[in-house]
Amino acid sequence: VAKSKAPTLQPIHLPVPVELKLANGLTALSVERGAIPLVTAILVLPAGSALDVPGKEGLADFTAQLLRRGTARFTAEALEDEVELYGGNLGVQAAPDSMSVSISCPSEELGRMLRVMGSMVREPLFLEEEIAHAKRRTLGAIANDLDDPAALAERALNRALFGRHPYAHESVGRMKAVESFTRDDVVEFHRNAYGPAVASLILVGVVPPRAKLQVLLEEAFGDWKGGPVALKVFPVNEPAAAGVWLVNKEDQSQSQIRVGVQGPWKKDPRRIALLLLESVLGGGFTSRLVEEIRVNRGLSYSVRSEFDRLRSGGSFCVRTYTQTESTRELLQVLLGEVRKLRERGMPRGELEKAKRYLSGIFPARLESSEALAASFADMKMFDLPADHLTRYREKLWEAKLPWVNGVAKEVLFAEPPAIVVVGRAKDVLPQLKGFGEVRELTVAELQ
């Protein structure tokens, strides 16, 4: 009969990236991986929604989405054809700290795809007609989010945690701001935020040899000029608004619940402890929150705890939902479990189990080209140390119990959290006594 034992930490042989640099400052990492003749390319820029100024919330994402809608070289339709006729798959995304253009394609079509990517970031046209389309589409997307209780909860949480900081709005933006966007806004944003000196290109998969790649990169990005030379950072310097935020949605039979505080930033030296705490509290199927809320009490299908570590700050949040009638019980159990871990810490056995779990699942997390490329993009974007991935498992094993339990005291709701509930207000409100001041928000206030 098999005995449960710790993984032997077989080395996982992460491929060593080849680094190339163009004269204009663009950095590229090329990572050879796998047997499938496909390549994933991600171009990442610090041009995310943290750069949106007040009144223009959503401009970073809006600009990013327009890149594919016509460039000096391709009309919108020709661009889609150029990608898809050759088996490619194009995505554009804006996150708080970055924007990315990603393409997955058959390896022999890489040169073609890089030329498309180059044209998108270097010479987008931002035609008036396309701006009108994009506005309508973005406003429609925000409207649809307002019908989604989970999306509403995220919107309310971001506002409660980050107040006047750009992290308070979702990348897609706010309706009023989107309505105000002009072509000049977009052109200016692009001019100020896009440029080769702050960009990184990551290639993962069956990639071309170095010399050939250098030629492809020169062709696609060689004459990319201008843009920023340094990063803009806006520190989070106001505290979160603790207490209860109640969003009324009459037609719900379930409450969406978020409980969160501001948390550590991207390069916080406590990273390993944070990952272990996140896992023990609300990761996997055997975490404390899942055990108490789902397994023992049947209160919810899903509960998880996450640190979101960003460039200018971060958050720690528990996300879950339950039927309207159980809102109070769930909140009590949730806060009780977090308090228990913060005040009493975890025993050694639980820490060791979390280490085995996290180190065991680590190689699978980096298996797909997309995931590996995203990890390298993150390392480039945030200038993380070279051993960020390669020594991750050793660092897990080195984590000492008193250290992890000490970090728990600092980060697990050490100050009163913001509690967001989206649901049927008249039935939820009486259940919220004792959790702090209750402020009501309407759906319209979250648009």
């Binding site: 098999a2 005995k3 034992k5 993984p7 032997t8 077989q10 047997a35 499938i36 003749p37 496909l38 339709e77 889609e80 054809d81 898809e84 006729l85 088996g87 490619g88 194009l90 997955s104 058959p106 022999e108 589409r137 406003l139 429609g140 997307a141 409207a143 649809n144 307002l146 019908d147 989604d148 009459e250 037609d251 719900q252 039979s253 379930q254 996997g284 199927f285 055997t286 789902r294 023992n296 049947g298 209160l299 919810s300 299908y301 899903s302 939902y321 039927q323 189990k353 085995r356 779990y357 180190s359 065991g360 699942i361 190689p363 699978a364 298996e367 797909s368 309407t442 759906v443 319209a444």
Partner: protein
């Protein structure tokens, strides 16, 4: 597109296959790139095997598979698995149920012990069943009752099928979930969770001979079950358009239009895949161009040709913008379908769809876990994993004439079911 697969990929698709004497089918695909393994067990049971009154039992049962067996009692399965660095999950479809674990190579024997324990001797306890039923009800509230799209799709299937079990939701009707008893679960287990109704895919860092010997040791002595009752696949041919209109508090309207289509093993499947791609995938697709950009009534379009063992549906969902009129969206959609019947696709559109579908076949093989999942899914829906890989050649052979003929065959008004969502109130308008 590459003319032939490079040798390295071909090698990852050369399995060791076996059938144990109790009927359990085993497919081992070694791949030593990374030191871990993905193990998926597919049981040929889904909501199609249910009956009215206990709808949702397949899915509820999937949850119960994690709640204790003879050797590993309640809560033990995930504790032991996560303790050795593995993770697990499962899902239920209308046609099959899949359980999967990804774990470091050295935990293979441990995982086989866990999986064989629950296949051999699941122990359903009343307290766990009561609690799990509440968990599933919360899941239902989240994905159907409080989710507009979830509600729309449930209405669609209930209307599109009169007789076939596809008319009820996989998660089950709320009223049925309370009725499912321990005895129903036990009967379900005895009938459908026998080795002869299962296929195991093991993909990753394994030595096939050794792995097969271990599988034989852990699973070989599980008793074969009775033959599984056949599902009645009968569904009358539709003889007229069916419609339902829902009014719910919403910012925008939406329409969901499904046309009755064939079973997955029908040769038309590859052609419908091509049509689905050309109509709905990417900003350059026909329906995105016509509904989102041209007529400017929609925010997004989703076209879905879902393969099933039984009668299928070809479904289009149009998410309208707040000012978009559902009737206008329908008009544009039907205009596009008629155009497809009359004129088919351009050479360019056809080529784009084919090349992408073939690239997609490769993408689905890219990780050990996706490979195990997709190959097993092919076997569940098409009959064998090889049939799935042959789809690449089937796409290559699709002609413009076939596209026109298949469009004419399925996109007829009498084969159509339409669900319309109309906002009963918008935020701020009350």
């Amino acid at each position: 597109m590459p003319k032939s697969r490079p040798p390295a990929l071909a090698a990852t698709l050369r399995p060791k296959e076996a059938t144990l004497s109790n009927g359990l089918r085993v497919r081992l695909f070694p791949d030593t790139t990374l030191p871990f393994v993905s193990l998926h067990i597919f049981y040929q049971v889904g909501s199609r095997n249910e009956r009215p009154g206990i709808t949702g039992i397949s899915h509820l049962f999937e949850h119960m598979m994690f709640n204790g067996a003879k050797k590993y009692g309640p809560k033990a399965f995930d504790r032991v698995l996560e303790g050795c660095g593995g993770s697990s999950n499962a899902y239920t479809s209308s046609d099959f149920t899949s359980y999967h674990e990804t774990f470091p190579s050295e935990a293979l024997e441990q995982v086989l012990d866990l999986e064989s324990d629950r296949m051999r001797s699941l122990a359903i306890n009343d307290r766990m069943l009561r609690s799990e039923r509440e968990v599933v009800k919360e899941e239902r509230r989240a994905v159907v009752d409080n989710d507009i799209n979830g509600t729309l799709y449930e209405e669609l299937e209930a209307l599109a099928f009169k007789v076939h079990p596809y008319r009820w939701p996989i998660i089950g009707w709320m009223g049925d979930l309370d009725l499912i008893q321990k005895e129903d679960c036990e009967r379900y287990f005895r009938t459908y969770y026998a080795p002869n109704n299962a296929v195991m895919y093991v993909v990753g860092d394994v030595e096939p001979k050794k792995a097969l010997a271990l599988i034989q040791r852990y699973f070989g002595t599980i008793r074969k079950g009775p033959p599984v009752p056949e599902v009645n696949e009968y569904e009358p041919e539709p003889n007229g358009e069916r419609r339902v209109t829902l009014r719910k508090p919403a910012q925008s309207a939406a329409i969901l239009v499904a046309h009755r289509a064939p079973v997955a093993t029908d040769p038309d499947t590859a052609i419908l895949d091509v049509i689905q791609y050309a109509l709905g995938v990417g900003d350059g697709s026909r329906l995105t161009r016509s509904l989102v950009y041209g007529a400017a009534v929609a925010v997004d379009v989703h076209v879905d040709w879902a393969w099933r063992r039984g009668p299928g549906l070809f479904t289009t969902r149009v998410d309208l913008s707040p000012e978009g009129e559902p009737s206008r969206a329908e008009e544009v959609l039907y205009g596009q379908l008629d155009d497809l019947i009359q004129r088919g696709l351009t050479e360019q559109e056809l080529l784009r769809a084919k090349n992408n579908l073939r690239a997609q076949l490769l993408r689905e093989l890219a990780t050990v876990s996706r490979r195990a999942d997709i190959l097993g899914t092919y076997e569940m829906l098409l009959g064998s994993w090889q049939d799935g890989l042959r789809m690449g050649d089937a796409y290559a052979r699709v002609t413009g004439e076939q596209v026109k003929a298949v469009a004419a065959k399925y996109f007829q008004p009498e084969r159509r079911t339409v669900v319309t969502l109309l906002p009963s109130a918008r935020a701020g308008e009350a």
